[in-house]
Each structure stands twice: as structure tokens, then as C-alpha cells.
């Protein structure tokens, strides 16, 4: 089975791709529009250069070759939401080509190309079966990322998308809480003929659409029926794909170069753009650089890249052991709580660790200071709570001394403690906190 994806992501510019209309969401239809994005006769496009910058950043992240010159093309097709009946996109010389992106740091997924293009408007059906068109989205910049058919399963497609989208969000600094629609055209062939499932919204639906199409194709093959090359649509309600039309080949759109926009020489611009390390690459690097358990590296980076950076700072200043003990332990456990409170004074945290490293405070004190600073609980209460946790664990260990001996063979034995505490306290303590305390107390008994 072969799966290839064409993935559309919105680029976070303030204004549209070819006019100065704002890109922000708008309550009323056809408000953020002007002659250019409405395709009025005599209007013409003027490129928002930031779109090139974002395009180059993604191309670099996907290890693509960035073309020295790039230009735009007209794709002509008739649809009510396409104001000019022409979409300005890229055909020859897109921004980047021939990239590769590693799934989980291991499996290479080849990237055919990345190009930038404008979004059409939106068609809305009304209750009386007429349609209305809203051009607020017309001209919003998108990047389209096209992969080779290197993806093996629908689940892997979702994994690929989750990872890549996470990396792009980080790269383009898109806030975690911002809703950011990702649309995919999913190509899948179980046998020899390829079927495209057009315009699937969201990662979960991409997997479901591919799965349902895979099942359909397998059934067709078993029944010795011919699979036709076509475009289908995914109906999430019924979880089936439905035929739309016989597949159009790209060259049927009659592409010509966009004559209103020139050729962009982007080599210098591309050379000047340095991109931050992707979260995925950071996980891989930290795992090997600090000999970390991959799970811990993943947990740190996925919780927050800032947390991972703090880990690296602490490791540099006080050694990897303290970084794992404190950043991987209570700091990681209470990170969300700290973020929720809007606290971000990381130097305080480093101060506690320094006091511990200098022998000024004990590890119990250090853990309490960290927790009380991050959660805002006063130290006495944190101490009491912590003491409560320790009492609970000690009691359990007293009753089950075998855990301590098992732990020496395999540290997974500590999980029994975690399960017990969780059952007793119903999530009062975070798992990281419990693990930390359990390991500490078990180790004190060895």
C-alpha cells in the first residue's frame, strides 16, 4: 500500500497574500475583501513578501532544496468560491523541492515539493438549498506540502501529519491555543491505481478517510473489480469515501506563468534565513547528547520547548544528573501549573537548584521550594502535602517490602507505588511527582 499526502497549511501573515486585507477571522461575511481578492476587473496582485519568508522556512525545515528563483502560475478552473476563476499558485520552480522529513527520527518520508498559493473563498449552503459565497478567506496564503508515496499505513499518515504540523507550528510560532486548520488531499493505492481523497479537514479525519478508502480498495481487489483513478470525498458522518469525479490531471488546469508577478530571486533571502531546531530534531538530539531516556526527551519537548531549553541550561551549569532530577522531575511536573499562573521567572528555579548543588538546602527542601514557587502554594502547605505523599508511599512500602528488592532488578517495580497512590488520592498528585517521590523513598531503603 502506498500513501502520499498533499497537505495545506495556512501561513500566519497579518495581511493576505496579494492585497492588504487582514487575515484575521471575521464575524461577518465579505468584510475583509477588496477589489484584488474579489477579482474585480483591473485589480492586480502585489505579493506579500512575508509569504516567501514563511515558505522558505518550511522548505528548510523539510530539508528541501530552495530554488534560487521562484515564480507563480495561474491554475484556471471554474468554481463560485474562486473569485478570478484563476488561482495564483506555483507550478514550475516552486519555493522548495526534493526534501526529506524523518518520521520519529528514523523513517524517511520524501518531500516532492512545497509551494505557496492563495486560498479561495468559502461556499455556504443555506437551508433553502441555495448557496452563498464568503470571500473573507479569498487570498489567504497557504503552503502546500506534497510528499512522495512513502507512507505505509493510515496510522502512519496521521503520525506523520501530527509530527510535521507540530514542527511547523513551532517553526512559525503559531500559539498552541490558536485553532489552525490543516487540510489534506490524501492519495492512496492498495493495488496499482491511485485514488485521491480531496480536501480532508484535520489529522484524525485524514487517518479515518485513508482507512475507509483502504478497506474499500481491498474489498474491490478481493472482488476482482477494477479500481478507477478518480477523486473521492470523505464523508465523516458515514465514514465512507464518495466518488466526486474522474481524476483531473494537473496539466488539465492549463497552467501558465502569472504574468502580473515577476520572477523572485530568493537565494539571498533564503541564505539569510536561519530556522530554529524543530521539536522533533530537538528530541533526537537531546536523547543522544544527554543519554536521556527517549521518553523523557519527548516529554520535556512536548510539554514545552522552553522547558527543554531550561533542561539544557541546567545540564550545562550543574550537570546532567541535576537536570534530570529537577527539570525532569518536579519542574516538568508543575510546568503547566506555572504556565497557567503566567509565571515565567526561570532564574528563580535555577536559584533553588544552585542552592541544592551548593549544599545549602536538602533535596526535600529543594523539591518543596520548586513546587511552591511554581504552583503558588505556600511552602508549609507544599511541605505538608509532600509529607502526606511521603507518608502514604512509606506506608505502602512497609506493607510491600518486595517492591524494594524488585526495584533493584527493574525500576518498573516503582509503578506499583504509583498505581497505589493514584488510587488512594485520585489524581491529587501528578504522576511525575509520585514517581519522583517513590523513587526517592525506594532508593533510600536500598
Amino acid at each position: 500500500m502506498k500513501i502520499g499526502l498533499e497537505c495545506h497549511v495556512q501561513l500566519p501573515t497579518k495581511s493576505k497574500m496579494f492585497c492588504s486585507c487582514p487575515t484575521e477571522e471575521c464575524e461577518f461575511p465579505n468584510t475583509h475583501v477588496c477589489p484584488t481578492c474579489l477579482g474585480m476587473p483591473g485589480s492586480r496582485p502585489v505579493l506579500n513578501k512575508q509569504v516567501l519568508v514563511y515558505g522558505i522556512m518550511i522548505a528548510k525545515m523539510l530539508n528541501c532544496e530552495v530554488n534560487d528563483t521562484t515564480w507563480f502560475a495561474r491554475k484556471t478552473y471554474f468554481y463560485p468560491d474562486m473569485s478570478k476563476s484563476v488561482q495564483i499558485t506555483q507550478y514550475d520552480n516552486p519555493i522548495g523541492e526534493r526534501g526529506v522529513y524523518y518520521l520519529d527520527g528514523k523513517k524517511p518520508i520524501r518531500i516532492t515539493r512545497i509551494h505557496i498559493e492563495e486560498d479561495p473563498g468559502k461556499t455556504k449552503r443555506t437551508a433553502d438549498l441555495t448557496s452563498l459565497v464568503d470571500y473573507n478567506r479569498s487570498g489567504i496564503p497557504l503552503a502546500e506540502i506534497v510528499t512522495e508515496p512513502d507512507i505505509a499505513t493510515p496510522a502512519e499518515a496521521r503520525q506523520f501529519l501530527t509530527q510535521m504540523i507540530g514542527d511547523i507550528r513551532h517553526l512559525l510560532d503559531i500559539p498552541d491555543d490558536l485553532e489552525w486548520e490543516v487540510k489534506c488531499d490524501c492519495n492512496i493505492s492498495v493495488g496499482t491505481e491511485r485514488v485521491e481523497i480531496k480536501n480532508v479537514s484535520g489529522l484524525k479525519n485524514a487517518e479515518k478517510a485513508l482507512h475507509s478508502e483502504m478497506v474499500r480498495q481491498i474489498a474491490m481487489i478481493k472482488a476482482k473489480k477494477k479500481i478507477v483513478r478518480e477523486t473521492r470525498r470523505y464523508d465523516p458522518e458515514r465514514d465512507v469515501t464518495v466518488s466526486m469525479r474522474v481524476k483531473e490531471f494537473e496539466d488539465q488546469y492549463g497552467y501558465i506563468d502569472e504574468p502580473d508577478l515577476g520572477i523572485y530571486h530568493i537565494k539571498e533571502l533564503a541564505d539569510s534565513i536561519r530556522i530554529a531546531e524543530s521539536p522533533q530534531n530537538m528530541i533526537l538530539r537531546m536523547t543522544s547528547q544527554y543519554s536521556l531516556d527517549p521518553k523523557m526527551a519527548k516529554q520535556l519537548v512536548n510539554t514545552s520547548v522552553d522547558l527543554a531549553i531550561l533542561f539544557e541550561d541546567v545540564a550545562k551549569e550543574f550537570g546532567t544528573a541535576d537536570a534530570i532530577k529537577w527539570v525532569g522531575g518536579p519542574i516538568s511536573a508543575n510546568w503547566r501549573a506555572m504556565e497557567d499562573r503566567g509565571v515565567n521567572d526561570l532564574s528563580k528555579l535555577k536559584g533553588f537548584i544552585k542552592d541544592f548543588a551548593d549544599g545549602k538546602i536538602t533535596d526535600t527542601q529543594c523539591a518543596i521550594e520548586i513546587k511552591s514557587f511554581m504552583t503558588g502554594q505556600d511552602a508549609a502547605a507544599a511541605k505538608e502535602e509532600s509529607a502526606g505523599l511521603e507518608t502514604l508511599i512509606n506506608g505502602f512500602l512497609d506493607e510491600n517490602p518486595k517492591i524494594v528488592t524488585d526495584y533493584q532488578k527493574n525500576d518498573k517495580a516503582a509503578n506499583q507505588v504509583i498505581g497505589y497512590v493514584m488510587r488512594q488520592t485520585g489524581g491529587k498528585y501528578s504522576s511525575a511527582e509520585v514517581v519522583e517521590a517513590a523513587k526517592k523513598l525506594i532508593e533510600s531503603r536500598i
Binding site: P41, R44, D251, Q252
Partner: protein, 442 residues
């Protein structure tokens, strides 16, 4: 005649010559410094803009074309929007969805096209300048047929913001007038960078200082297939030029023969994408049956309101862009464009301009035009197309009259951005040429 006199007679003039599609109701010039008209493919806030097409009937743009707003800012009063071939598709302005302008020298003859109404207005109305647009010769052709001066500047010299596109890589806005000196004066007003049209942003400064023309090259390919009368008038004009101290040399420019097929591939390919937006949804006629599926609705509106020539060029362009043909035709045509440019550059390295008659014949009668095939009329543009495909500036001057009094024009082509040598030769020519104005009796 004062501007107010002109204004008071405008309606009557238009009755007779049909140069305007839309026009002002004002009968006085107010505090205007000059009057001008503009081809109807330039958008105007205060007047309906249709580009000669019924599909845009009733369309009132929300913005002025840059060239129009610049003339207004300079004190100009827009008096009318001129009739033209639909979207610029024609050589005689007979492919108009509305009125067909009449030749000022003989009402049963054409004004040329596609800026026919503009040339007619420039010829008939005193002290008038008119904005025209050239894609393949649409300024110089009607200038020649109507006996006026006309310039199509270098591609990118005048902002195309507000120009209803025919072929975006070819379209150029220029000026037509009875007076050579007006061309420079008004081109200076409309030229220049405009950040709303990126293709205008690469131009060098507009230098219009006097530069005497010392030599011209006449391509052998440019004096083939001429009518006897055009040939005679042209030869006579060449002698006059020599008398003005201009060296004349006959040269070979073999690539000119290939400009025409390449032009029709490029122009129709671009046009077919430009015309895709006219589907009866957002402007112009929207009176199709709305209970149909959207593509049937689009088809109904387009079938009803596009003229035959627009349909022909959409089909030609779509064919040229289609699978299997796109690479072969469009890419090849672009290569030919480069070859033509190289040919001009080679000749213009040794000469100030390339010279030939503007049109191979004088303004034809409407009866004769109706007998011409589409191909016949395409072929009539073989002298104007090469400079247009190369994007080089070109200027037509009236250079004689045939036995029936119809004007003959000749066209100078200069190197990119070198409009000044064209203005200079036109002004020198004007000083010694006996311009015969048409009789305008209202």
C-alpha cells in the same frame, strides 16, 4: 474652440462618430485644465466600464485606473469612455459589444482597433487627448487609420492598475493625439512606478529630453505585402526623413515573421485565463437561471454575453494551454518572443529606431471588413505585432494620404525605455508634415 464649446457639442459629435460608450452629461468644462477620454477597458469610478463587452454591462468600478486618476489629478476632465473591440480583440473596433466608431475621414470606414474610439476622439475633437491600450498594435493601428499620433510606451512604463486585462504580459497604456507634442506632455503625467502594479516598479526614470534621431533601419520584412498607395506614401515619407538628416538603411529582421503566431499563442493563452472571471456572479450581467448548477449558470451567461471573437480567443487560448499543448505552444511562443527581442536589440545597437508603415493598407470600409475571415484580420497586424511582443516602445505618425484622402501612418520602434527618441522624431516630423484634419461638421 474653447473647452466649453467642445463640451456643448460633445453629444452631437458622438451621435455622428460613435466614439464613446459612456460619456459625461456635463455641458461645461468647469475648472478643468484639459479634456481627455479613455479607452473603455480602463476603470473609472464615475462612468460605466465594460471593455467593449456586454458581459460587463452595468459595471461601475469602485476605483479609478492609475492612468485616469493621474490625469484627473493633473487637472484633466474625463469626458468619455471610448468604444473598442471587446476586451481589445480586434483590428477595426467592429468586434464591439456596443457601438462601432466611424472613421473621421469617411463614415463608412473603420477607425482601426482596438482603441478605435480613442483614435476617433483624438482625431475629431479639438485639443483632445485620449488614453489607448495596445496589446498587439491597438494604439498605432487606429492612430494610423484616423490620422493622429499615437504612442505605446515600453511595457511596464505606465501602471496597468485598473486596466481590464487582455494579455497581461503584453498590455501597454499609451496616448493618442493630433499633436506630437501632446504625446510627451501627457505620457509624462501617466508614466511612473506604481506599487499596485509590480511590473511598473522596475522602470528607469522617464527621460524625455530632446534626442535627435540620426538613423533608422527599415526591415525588408516590414515593407512586404503593402497596398500600392501605402507603399507610395511611405516611400515619399522616407525621402522626407532623409531630408531631415536621418540616415536610412534597409536591413533583414527574419524573426519578425514568427512574431505573429507567437503573439496569438501568448495573447490568447493569457486572455483565456483573464476572461475566466466573467461568470455572471459579481459584476456585469447576472441574469442567468439561478436554479441551475453553477457551471451551467456560468455557461449560460458566458454564451449569452460574450461576442464571437471573445469566444474564439477563449477557445484558442484554452487549446494552447491544454494538456500536451501547453509546453509545446506557450513555452515555444515565449522563446520566439526572446528571439524577436534579440533581433530588435541587434538592429537598435546601430540605429535609433526601426521604421515601417504602421498598417499595410488604409482604413477599410465596413462592407469589406465583413467579408474578411478572422485569419485575414489577424494577419493585418503583422507590422504592429513584433514591437508589441518585444515590449519595445513604438509611435505612429501620420505620414501621408491615399487617393481617397485616407491617412497613412508609419511606425518607429525604439529600444526598451528609450521613448525620448520617439518623442523627438515625432516633434521634428510634425514641424514639416502637412497634417490634414478631417472635416468635422456638427
Amino acid at each position: 474652440m474653447s473647452m466649453d464649446d467642445v463640451m456643448s457639442k460633445l453629444k452631437a459629435v458622438n451621435e455622428k462618430y460613435r466614439m464613446f460608450h459612456a460619456m459625461t452629461d456635463d455641458t461645461s468644462a468647469g475648472d478643468a485644465d484639459f479634456l481627455f477620454s479613455a479607452k473603455d477597458n480602463l476603470t473609472s469610478k464615475d462612468m460605466e466600464t465594460c471593455a467593449g463587452s456586454r458581459i460587463l454591462e452595468g459595471y461601475h468600478p469602485v476605483f479609478d485606473a492609475t492612468s485616469i486618476s493621474k490625469l484627473r489629478d493633473a487637472g484633466g476632465k474625463l469626458v468619455g469612455k471610448t468604444n473598442m473591440d471587446e476586451f481589445g480583440f480586434g483590428t477595426f473596433s467592429t468586434n464591439s459589444g456596443f457601438e462601432i466608431p466611424r472613421n473621421p475621414y469617411a463614415l463608412d470606414r473603420a477607425c482601426g482597433g482596438s482603441s478605435g474610439g480613442s483614435a476617433c476622439a483624438a482625431s475629431v475633437i479639438e485639443d483632445h487627448i485620449s488614453l489607448g491600450v495596445s496589446t498587439g498594435g491597438s494604439i498605432c493601428c487606429p492612430a494610423s487609420f484616423c490620422g493622429v499620433y499615437g504612442i505605446a510606451p515600453t511595457y511596464g512604463r505606465v501602471s496597468r492598475y485598473g486596466l481590464i486585462d487582455y494579455g497581461n504580459s503584453l498590455d501597454k497604456i499609451g496616448v493618442l493625439s493630433q499633436k506630437a507634442t501632446d504625446l510627451k506632455k501627457y505620457m509624462e503625467l501617466i508614466a511612473g512606478k506604481d506599487d499596485r502594479d509590480p511590473t511598473s516598479m522596475v522602470q528607469p526614470d522617464f527621460d524625455t529630453s530632446y534626442t535627435k534621431m540620426r538613423s533608422v533601419a527599415i526591415p525588408k520584412e516590414g515593407i512586404e505585402g503593402l497596398s500600392k498607395e501605402v507603399e507610395a506614401a511611405f516611400n515619399n515619407a522616407v525621402e522626407q526623413l532623409k531630408g531631415m538628416g536621418v540616415d536610412v538603411e534597409y536591413v533583414d529582421m527574419p524573426s519578425l515573421r514568427f512574431a505573429m503566431p507567437a503573439y496569438y499563442v501568448l495573447a490568447t493563452s493569457e486572455a483565456s485565463t483573464n476572461l475566466a472571471r466573467y461568470v455572471g456572479m459579481r459584476y456585469g450581467h447576472q441574469d442567468g437561471d439561478r436554479t441551475q448548477k453553477f457551471d451551467d449558470f456560468f455557461t449560460e451567461v458566458r454564451t449569452k454575453y460574450f461576442g464571437d471573437e471573445a469566444k474564439r480567443r477563449i477557445l484558442l487560448g484554452t487549446y494552447a494551454r491544454m494538456a500536451g499543448f501547453g509546453g509545446r505552444h506557450y513555452a515555444k511562443a515565449r522563446e520566439v518572443r526572446q528571439v524577436v527581442i534579440n533581433d530588435y536589440k541587434k538592429v537598435l545597437a546601430d540605429h535609433d529606431a526601426v521604421l515601417a508603415p504602421t498598417m499595410p493598407f488604409t482604413a477599410p470600409k465596413f462592407d469589406d471588413i465583413s467579408k474578411m475571415s478572422a485569419l485575414d484580420s489577424y494577419k493585418a497586424d503583422y507590422l504592429t505585432v513584433p514591437a508589441n511582443i518585444a515590449g519595445t516602445p513604438h509611435l505612429s505618425v501620420p505620414c501621408g494620404y491615399d487617393s481617397e484622402g485616407m491617412p497613412v501612418g508609419m511606425q518607429f520602434v525604439a529600444d526598451h525605455w528609450n521613448e525620448k527618441v520617439l518623442f523627438s522624431v515625432a516633434e521634428d516630423w510634425e514641424k514639416q508634415f502637412d497634417l490634414k484634419r478631417p472635416e468635422v461638421s456638427i
